[in-house]
C-alpha cells in the first residue's frame, strides 16, 4: 500500500494537465466577460452622447467654436457616421489612448493626462477607506463575538448614525475642522495650515491631511462600516458553529488558520459589492475637501460643460470597476477551488 507515492510521474502530470485546462478556461471566460462588459458599458455612454438633444457639437462648443474645432470634434466622436461605425471609431481612438482634448475646463490639455493621475488619487482614497473599515470591522467582529443584548445599546446608535450619507459626514467634518482652526487663529494668531479646508477652495496636493479626512468620512458614511461589520460578524458566527470547525477542534488542531482562510471569500464578496458605491461617494467627498482627484475633476468639468473630460473620467471609472472585479475574482478563485469548478 505504501508504494502509492505522491511522486508517481504519470498521475501527477495528468492531474496537472487537467487543472491547467480548467484554469485557463475559467480565466479566458472571465477575461472575455470583462471585455464584453467594457464594450457594452462604453457603448451605453456613446449612445447617451449621440442621443443628446440638438447638435452635440454646438451644445459643447457654444457660440465661440471655430469651424476647425467643430470638424475635429465631429471626427473625434464619429458624428458623421452611423451609430455603430461611429462607436467603432470612437472606441478605437479611446483604446489607443486618445481620449480627446479638454475644451472649456482646461483648454488644450489632453484628457488622458488630466484624468489618469487624478484617477490614481480617487482609487487610493477608495481603497484606503475600504481597507481601513474592513480592518476595523474585522477586529471588532472578532473582539465582540456573538451578539449580546447589552451590545445593542452601543451598536444600535452607531449603526443608525452610520447610515448618514458620506457627503453629509464630510461637510460636518470639514465644518468642525474649520471652526477649530478659526478658534486657534483667533487665539494664537498663527498662519492657517496648508490643508485649511472650507471655504477657501485652494488646490492643495502636497498635504496628506485632506486625503485622510476624505477617507475617514467615506469609512464613516453610507453605512460602509456597519455593512462590513454585520456581514463579517454573521459569517464568523456561522463559521464558528459550522461542523467542520467543530471537527478541526475535535482533532486537536489549530482553528485559526481555517477560520481566516474561510473568511477571505465572504470579505472579498463584500468588497466587490461595495466598491462601486464607494467610488461614487469619493466623487462628492473629493469635491468637498478640494482634493485633486477625478471626482473633483469630473464635477468641475461638468460645471463647465466640458464633455470630453466628463466622458474620459466616466470611462476610467468603468474600466477600474471591471478590472478590480477581475482581480477580486482571481483572488477568490485562488483561495476557493469551488469557484473554478463551478464554471460559467
Amino acid at each position: 500500500m505504501s508504494q502509492i507515492g505522491l511522486d508517481h510521474p504519470q498521475q501527477k502530470s495528468a492531474m496537472l494537465n487537467e487543472a491547467t485546462i480548467r484554469w485557463s478556461l475559467w480565466l479566458g471566460s472571465k477575461l472575455l466577460r470583462g471585455l464584453s462588459l467594457l464594450c457594452g458599458a462604453s457603448f451605453i455612454i456613446y449612445a447617451t452622447l449621440r442621443s443628446a438633444p440638438g447638435d452635440m457639437v454646438d451644445l459643447i462648443l457654444g457660440l465661440n467654436g471655430t469651424p476647425e474645432m467643430k470638424a475635429d470634434l465631429r471626427a473625434e466622436f464619429g458624428l458623421d457616421l452611423n451609430i455603430i461605425e461611429g462607436y467603432g471609431r470612437w472606441a478605437w481612438r479611446a483604446l489607443s489612448g486618445d481620449l480627446g482634448i479638454s475644451i472649456t475646463f482646461m483648454p488644450g490639455e489632453p484628457v488622458l493626462s488630466l484624468a489618469g493621475p487624478a484617477f490614481l488619487v480617487t482609487l487610493s482614497i477608495a481603497v484606503v477607506s475600504l481597507l481601513c473599515s474592513i480592518a476595523v470591522a474585522y477586529g471588532l467582529a472578532i473582539l465582540l463575538g456573538p451578539p449580546r443584548p447589552r451590545q445593542a445599546f452601543l451598536l444600535g446608535p452607531i449603526q443608525l448614525l452610520n447610515a448618514a450619507p458620506s457627503f453629509v459626514v464630510a461637510i460636518c467634518l470639514a465644518k468642525v475642522i474649520n471652526e477649530l482652526i478659526q478658534f486657534q487663529l483667533a487665539g494664537g494668531g498663527q498662519i492657517p495650515p496648508s490643508w485649511y479646508p472650507i471655504p477657501t477652495y485652494q488646490k492643495i496636493t502636497d498635504s496628506i491631511a485632506p486625503f485622510c479626512f476624505a477617507a475617514l468620512s467615506i469609512s464613516l458614511g453610507d453605512g460602509l462600516f456597519t455593512d462590513l461589520f454585520n456581514a463579517l460578524r454573521a459569517e464568523l458566527m456561522s463559521l464558528n458553529e459550522s461542523l467542520f470547525i467543530s471537527a478541526v477542534r475535535a482533532k486537536g488542531a489549530a482553528v485559526r488558520k481555517h477560520l481566516i482562510k474561510n473568511l477571505i471569500v465572504p470579505t472579498l464578496s463584500v468588497f466587490t459589492a461595495r466598491l462601486p458605491l464607494v467610488l461614487s461617494a469619493v466623487v462628492i467627498v473629493e469635491y468637498i475637501f478640494t482634493l485633486d482627484g477625478s471626482g473633483y475633476l469630473l464635477l468641475q468639468a461638468a460645471k463647465n460643460r466640458d464633455v470630453p473630460v466628463v466622458v474620459g473620467v466616466s470611462l476610467f471609472f468603468i474600466f477600474a470597476v471591471i478590472v478590480m472585479n477581475l482581480i477580486l475574482d482571481l483572488v477568490k478563485a485562488l483561495v476557493d477551488p469551488r469557484e473554478v469548478a463551478k464554471g460559467d
Binding site: 447610515a163 453629509v168 461638468a302 460643460r305
Partner: protein, 295 residues
C-alpha cells in the same frame, strides 16, 4: 348544528379587525429601532403628501431684518442668513425628493421584479440575454453616470430620479432572480405547474406577491432613500438639483459655506441623516419580520 354555526360566526371577523389585531400584536414585539424608524417614515410620508397643498413663496419669505435668529416660539428652528424660517423650508424641502423618490422606487421595484421573475422562471437564452443587459447597466458607476447625464441633457430632478431607478433595476432583478430560481426548485411551485396553473399566475401571484413582496418593498425603500441621497447631493453641488431660492435639504446644507450660525445647515444635515437611517432601518425591519413569519 346551531351551536356549530354560532361558533363559526364568532370566529369569523371583519377584515379590518383581523388586520388590526395581527398588526397590533406584531407591533408590540418589534424592537425599539423599528418602532422609532416607522414613526419617522410615517411622518415623512404625511408631510410629503400634504406638502403640495401648502403654498410657500421662497422670495416673499426673505426678510433681512430677521436674519440668523435663534430658535424661538415663532421660528422654532431659527432663521437663516436671509431671514427665512428654517422649519418651513425644511418642511417644504421634502417636496424636492418625495414624489421623484416615490416614482423611482415604484418604477424600479416593478420593472426589476418583473424582469427578475422572467429571468429566473424561464431561464434559457431569453433569461441569459436579459441578465447580460442588466449586468451591463450594473457596471455603470451610478454617481458618475448621473453627472454625465446632467451634463448632456438639461437637468431636472425627474430625469435624475428616472435614471437612478433604471440604474437600480439590475440589482433588484438579480435579487428577485436568485429568489425565483431557489423557489423554482421547490416542490410546491412544481406542484402548481403540474396542476396546470397558468405560468403568469404562478409568477405574479405565487412567486412575486406571496414570496417577494417584502424583498421588493425593502428595495423600493432603498431606491427612495437613494433618490433622497442623490437629490440632496446634487442640490448641495448646486448645478443640477433644486436651485435657490427653492428649498431642498441639499442646498440648505450648502449654506454651511456661508452661514455664521449652525441651524440653517446643521438641522437639514440632521434631517438627511435621520430620514435615511430611518428608511433603511424600516426596510430591514420589514424584511426581517417577513422572514420570521415564514419560519
Amino acid at each position: 348544528m346551531t351551536g356549530q354555526s354560532t361558533g363559526q360566526s364568532t370566529r369569523q371577523s371583519t377584515w379590518y379587525s383581523t388586520w388590526y389585531s395581527t398588526w397590533h400584536s406584531a407591533w408590540k414585539e418589534q424592537p425599539l429601532s423599528f418602532k422609532l424608524s416607522s414613526i419617522i417614515v410615517v411622518l415623512v410620508l404625511c408631510f410629503g403628501v400634504i406638502n403640495p397643498f401648502i403654498s410657500y413663496d421662497p422670495v416673499l419669505d426673505v426678510e433681512l431684518s430677521r436674519r440668523d435668529l435663534a430658535p424661538s416660539w415663532e421660528y422654532w428652528m431659527g432663521t437663516d442668513g436671509q431671514g427665512r424660517s428654517v422649519a418651513l423650508r425644511l418642511f417644504k424641502g421634502i417636496e424636492a425628493f418625495f414624489f421623484p423618490g416615490l416614482i423611482a422606487g415604484l418604477f424600479a421595484a416593478f420593472v426589476g421584479g418583473v424582469l427578475g421573475a422572467l429571468c429566473g422562471y424561464f431561464g434559457g437564452w431569453i433569461g441569459r440575454s436579459l441578465s447580460a443587459v442588466l449586468e451591463l447597466i450594473d457596471t455603470l458607476p451610478r454617481m458618475v453616470f448621473l453627472v454625465l447625464i446632467c451634463t448632456i441633457f438639461p437637468p431636472s430632478i425627474l430625469l435624475i430620479s428616472i435614471i437612478s431607478s433604471v440604474l437600480f433595476i439590475p440589482s433588484i432583478a438579480t435579487i428577485i432572480r436568485r429568489k425565483v430560481e431557489a423557489l423554482g426548485a421547490e416542490d410546491y411551485i412544481l406542484a402548481h405547474v403540474a396542476h396546470g396553473f397558468h405560468p403568469l399566475k404562478i409568477i405574479s401571484y405565487h412567486i412575486l406577491w406571496l414570496q417577494c413582496r417584502a424583498l421588493l418593498t425593502r428595495q423600493m425603500i432603498f431606491v427612495f432613500s437613494y433618490v433622497l441621497f442623490i437629490e440632496t447631493a446634487l442640490s448641495y453641488l448646486g448645478d443640477y438639483g433644486v436651485q435657490e431660492p427653492y428649498p431642498s435639504w441639499g442646498n440648505m446644507v450648502a449654506q454651511s459655506r456661508i452661514s455664521a450660525v449652525a441651524w440653517p445647515w446643521a438641522l437639514p444635515a440632521l434631517a438627511i441623516i435621520i430620514t435615511i437611517a430611518a428608511l433603511l432601518a424600516f426596510g430591514d425591519g420589514i424584511a426581517r419580520r417577513e422572514e420570521e413569519v415564514k419560519r
